[in-house]
Structure formats: C-alpha cells, structure tokens
Symmetry: C2
Subunit: 427 residues, 2 copies
C-alpha cells in the first residue's frame, strides 16, 4: 500500500467529514486517543458558556435553570446509545476507578447474598492495574480472594462454583485483545457468577452490546475514545434486573431518592441514580457532553458499525505496513483476528538493544509529532509501543506517515536514553 493508495481511499471514506468536528494541532498524528481523546471543536465555546453564563450569571439558580441536576443521567443516556444500553440505565459520574468500586461492591454483595460459599473474584493478571487494586481492596474488605488467570484460555477451568464475580476489561489496555462479551458472560452465568465489565477501551471504540450480552454491571471512561477531556467523568451501568436491589457503599446525598429532604437516613434513588454520590464537576461534565456528541455524530454515517469497519481498516493497514517495511523488528502483540482486536495496535521489539529502547522509540516518535505511548512490561509481558487508532479523526494516510516515521526512527537509530519514571511517564 502506497501513500497514494491511502490518499485515494481516504478521499472515498464516508466518515472523513467527522474529522472536521475536532481541533487537531498542526503537525501531529495522534495515535493516543485511547489515552486522552482530542478536543472537540464545540468544547471551548460550550465550556466558556458554562463558566461565564451558567456559573457566573446563573450562580446557584443554574442547578435548575441550566439543567445541572440532570447532567449525569442526560449524558448517561447518550453513552447508553454507544454501549447497547437503554435510556435510564447509565450515569456519568466520578472516575472509572470509583465507579468500579461501586459496581464491584454491589456485585459482590449480591453474589454473596445469593450464595455465601462463593468467595472468589476472578480476573486477569493483565487487567488494567487500577481494576486489580480496587478488587484487591474489596476482596480484603469482604474476606474474598482475588484469583488472577494468565490467559483467557484458563477461563473455563477457573469458572468454578467458588466464583462470585468475574471482572474483566473488555479490550485489554496493553494488548488490545478483546473478549467475546456475550460468550464470556454466558459462561460466567452458567457457572453461577455475576459479570463486571470495564469498557474503558471499548466505549466509542468498538461496538458494545451490554443488554444483548446479558451483562450484569459495567463501567467505563469518559476521556479516551469518548473525547471528554482530561480526567472527564466516567460512567456506570447496571442491568435493569438488578436495578431495584443493588446497593453501593458510596451512598452520598446525590444518590438519595430526595436529596433536598435532608433526611438523616439514606434512602437510595430508584435505579442507576443510586450510583451517584456527591456533587459532580459540572464544567468537566459539560466538556464530556461535547465529546459524546462527536461519537454520536457517526450515527448519521452508519454509527458504531461504520466506525468499527474503519477502525479495522486502519489497524490492518498499520500492521501490514509495519510488517512490510520493518520485517523482523517488531512482534505484534495485538490479535490479528478481527473478532479479537480492539481499536489499537501494540508492538514489542523482537530484541531490545537497551533496557529502555521501547520507551525511547516512543519518545523519538513523539518528537516527530507521532504521538503514541509506552507501557512498561514485567516478568510476564514485554515493554510495548502502543498505538490507538480513532476512526473519527484518523485516515489511512495518517497510518502511512506513522509507519514512515517509525521506519526513519529505526533506520537512524534516533532513540536516545531518556530516563523512564514510573511515577509520571504517561506516554
């Protein structure tokens, strides 16, 4: 595939106008929308309006006159359209980690109430660390055991009568490998376990069908593929069959059935409203809505199915070009199988010439304006170069140029030896 091929195909892409929704910096090819989505054109004006008019002029009155009260549910209804959920089933609130704490607590409590002998939360060692940390904490609190499998192949054997909750991330943050949500949920249910799905790398990136998959609980992130801005509020979903019974422990007044009754006793709001805790950051929620609207705009062009087809075309092209132009240098970590691949491609060096070479290559690419990121390995996983492909604002020519830059970095050995700092090395 030549650059001319890419340009020709991009010109025929029915989704190409979606890119006009964003303000992208000159000279940047952004392959990190899986970490922080780009700025929607609508966001600066909308945020300015919330600050100057709603906060500045409306002041406390804006809770009612500007609809601040309804924001978590109204935005939740927008997220619902992207994850196969129904209106009223999702709220946008707090952070992904905090929402995971809520839903995992609720799932554990419900599973224990049904069968007190089940004492295991099952997950994958390769899950995103914050998920494991939250699960560690809840298992300690509830006297449960967190059992980690090393690959999906171990799942059938691990789904024993001891498992209370199966907690998985739908698309793996490192490898980009995707679970079959429907099949895995069915297997968990057959084993008597509840499911908690983390959609951080799925919502807005791949089609998700929570209700069709018969999932139990889910949470996800607002600032990755949903383009909600740095640290945007996250979301939580619960299947309606649990809506009246689940209880989460962060029982703040915002999840009360009537907050302004100021009753000294907690009475949870009906349904998913009880996932709210305290007052939400309105300015950040307003930016999130602009991000959600950029993804929903694809509904006029085939929606998530069309985005998915383009995403696969982008990742296919990236994989092909890397293999064609840099033969033998990189190992593909992401599954080739479309059904198993998210919207990113991860590479590991076949042979690291220095301990931090993968990190240094990512930094060299960033210096050239090709922004991906690095994720450190451990005894079981190699260091990786991670490239996210967001079909809303990327085309095949971007893929071509990215690989060209990678070729040049490798040919010219442009990597220096920057010091990797595990405290803040976000890229």
């Amino acid at each position: 595939m030549t650059l001319d091929d890419c340009l020709r195909l991009d010109a025929q892409d029915p989704l190409r106008t979606l890119r006009d929704q964003f303000l992208l910096p000159e000279g940047v090819i952004y392959l990190d929308g899986n970490s922080l989505g780009v700025l929607p054109k609508a966001a600066p004006a909308r945020v300015a309006e919330v600050v100057a008019r709603e906060w500045g002029e409306g002041l406390i009155r804006s809770w009612n006159t500007a609809g601040w009260f309804d924001l978590p549910q109204r935005l939740g209804d927008k997220v619902a359209r992207l994850i196969g959920a129904a209106p009223g089933e999702v709220v946008c609130t707090d952070s992904t980690s905090i929402n995971l704490y809520k839903v995992l607590f609720a799932a554990i409590a419900q599973a224990k109430a049904a069968d007190a002998k089940r004492r295991v939360v099952l997950s994958e060692r390769s899950n995103f660390p914050t998920d494991l940390y939250i699960a560690e904490s809840l298992c300690r609190e509830h006297g449960l055991t967190l059992q980690l499998i090393d690959s999906e192949a171990e799942l059938p054997a691990a789904l024993t009568q001891d498992v209370a909750v199966l907690m998985l991330t739908h698309v793996n943050y490192r490898t980009g490998a995707m679970h079959d949500m429907k099949a895995v949920t069915a297997a968990a249910h057959a084993a008597g376990a509840l499911t908690v799905w983390d959609l951080a790398h799925s919502a807005g990136a791949v089609p998700v069908a929570l209700n069709d998959s018969n999932a139990d609980f889910a949470i996800g992130c607002g600032y990755k593929y949903l383009n909600g801005g740095p640290g945007a509020p996250a979301f939580a979903w619960v299947h309606t069959r649990h809506a009246g019974q689940f209880m989460q422990p962060l029982s703040g007044w915002w999840g009360h059935a009537a907050p302004f009754e100021f009753s000294p006793h907690y009475r949870p709001a009906p349904g998913v409203g009880r996932y709210l805790c305290g007052t939400q950051p309105i300015v950040s929620l307003a930016a999130l809505e602009c991000g959600l609207d950029t993804v929903l705009a694809a509904e006029a062009h085939g929606g998530m199915a069309a985005l998915r087809a383009k995403s696969l075309a982008l990742t296919d092209a990236f994989i092909s070009l890397v293999e064609e132009r840099l033969p033998g240098q990189f190992q593909l970590i992401t599954p080739r199988d479309h059904a198993r691949r998210g919207s990113q491609v991860c590479l590991a060096l076949q042979q690291q010439q220095t301990p931090t070479q993968a990190y240094a290559i990512v930094q060299a690419l960033i210096a050239r304006g090709v922004i991906g990121d690095y994720r450190a390995g451990d005894s079981q996983m190699p260091d990786i170069l991670r490239f996210g492909f967001t079909p809303l604002y990327l085309g095949l020519a971007d893929v071509w140029h990215s690989v060209e830059h990678l070729v040049q970095v490798m040919e010219r050995k442009e990597w220096t030896q920057p010091e990797f700092n595990a405290k803040n090395a976000v890229t």
Copy 2:
C-alpha cells in the same frame, strides 16, 4: 444603622478591593456563597487556556508539560494555607462525600486496630445528611454503630470508651453553629477516639487550625467559600502522625506509589498522595485553583483573621437589622456568640402562616435578586431561611439592602405558594 452608615463603613473597608476579583451579575446580592461561590474573574481565561492549549494543543503530553500530575497536591498546598495545615498534607480530589468515605474508613480501621472493642462512630443528628449516609454505610460494612447526639451538650456524656471515631462538621450547614475544634478534639482524644472534621462550611469562611487543634482527619468542599465552581473537586487532609499507616479503600492507580509501573499489586504512595484514586477532572481543577487564589489574595490584607472580622461584622449587622426592622417575626437559629458562629445567618419564622412559607419567602427574595436559600425542617428542626455572608465580595450596604428586601417581602406578603420539590430544590 442606616444605609449611609453602611456605605461610609464600606468605603473604609480595607478588604473592599477583593471584590474586584469577581464577576458578579448586575442586580444580584448573593448570599449563597456557602452553597456555590461566585465566578473569579481569572477563571474564564484560565479554563479556556486549559481547554484550548493544554488539552487541544498539548494533548496527552500536558500531563507532564502542563503540570496536570501535580495539580491535586499543588492545589492541596494552597488549601493547606487556609486550614492551618502544612504543605504536603492536603490533596484536592474527588467529591466531599467520597473523601469522607476515604478518611472515615481509614479512621475506623485505625481505631479498630488500636482497640477492637470500640464500636461506635459518634456524630450529630443535625450533621449534613451526606456525612450521615456515608457513616451509615461504613458502620454497616464494619459492624459498627452510628450514634447521633441531638446537641453538643450531650457530647461529654456520649464520648465513652465505645467511641472509635468522632465525626463532626465544624460549622453546621443549617444553623451556622461552629464547634470549638481544639477543645472538642482534645475531649475526643482524652476519651481515646479519633476525630474526622468536615470543613465544608469552614474552609475559606472561618479560621481553621487543623494542626494546632491536633485533629486527625479532615475533608472539605471546593465549591462553597473556596469559589471553585459548580461541583469543584473537594479536599482531604490527614495529620502527619497517621501519614504512614492509614489505608483507604478507594485504592486506585492514582494513589499508587508508581502508577506507570503498572504493577498488578497496590503499593500506596507515601503520605496523603494515597488519598488519590482515579484520574481527576483537570478542567474543573483548573477552575478551582482560580477560586483558591481569590481567598489567598486576602493574605496581603490580614488573611483569614481579617476576613473573619469582616464576616462577623456582616452577620452582626444582618442580625441587628432583622431584629430592628422585623421585630418578633423571625427566630434567630444561628448563635449570637462570635466564637460559636460561622459565616452565615439562619432564620426561622416565629409562626409559619402556610406549610411552605419559609420556602416561598426565599423564592420571593430570589425574584428580587437577593439570593439565599431554604433548608427544609423536620420533626426536630424548623424550616429555615439561610443567608451566607462572604466577606470577599459583600459589604454592609449589601446587608442593608437584603434586609430592606426582606422587609418589603414581609410587608407586601409577596410569598406565593411555589411547590417545594425535595428532589432538586437547591435554593
């Protein structure tokens, strides 16, 4: 006191220039800074910069280049100056309710480890409901009892050997009554209990001396007297004597000692950094910093002591004028004693002519541009009209006009019968 007296005194007020830091709507006298602070002039430009330049241009790189990583601690250091804490002891993050969950969990765990027989969390029935809801939840989880006293006079008798944690709000959200933090903390410690202080109506409103009071844990709100914007992130503080041992259960990756190590096991950051959980809403944090700076600007004019003196002059004047001009109509709920009074005045009708008259009067005042709020009563407390006085942007003439409007509302019986809705009646 005449309007001329007020204008003359306002002209001599050394703090009067602090008002120039804010964008206040024309025709509004804002007595609800205890619920949502007003817009700092610096905020629109700062927020726009974060959105357009840091997010839009810097993208993922801004975590490092724009200092996003340090925001919770850097803003925490600013809050520390307002609450008698030291740098490194405070973080700005999440919501007040969530931070309370963290610190109360940590306090309970620490108290139980020291003496497992202590099984009571002690608080006041009049505490802000979300505090009681969170305590209810944690007591249920930990097999403790939440014991509520009806007045501070009951405190000495209630501080028994059973009490693990005394959880109080420093300034009561309804009555404006303030505890003597140092004396109460000493009494709690003498009884072997730890203390958790909610500073929602204190930080930026009254002098707070956490370290001098020898308090254990504290949390507070960013969007009231700190002018951080709607739903601004909150803060948490812990005394350094607990810094190495406390554990909170919302153990997300942001509180990990090295988040980008991506270790599967949680290792808490040293000190108060472990109170962080997930990624923070950066745009809302940026607005909060503008708010904090408006309060810190008073440091050049005598700081919290000068703000406190002016606050007492404002509330004294409001009480005097109401009693002089509306004799026998209102009962003063807020303490007259300066040492016991926060920065607000609450009134109850001596006799409510209709069940919702207090609410209706507040609505009539809002229609006139005098924005206070209403808090519903219950079997033990009357309905109240609540007026917050923020010395940063209010003067004695504002007090005079407010009372004049209240006089006119009462004389003209302007109250209609608006329906009170406990789900969203924020004012």
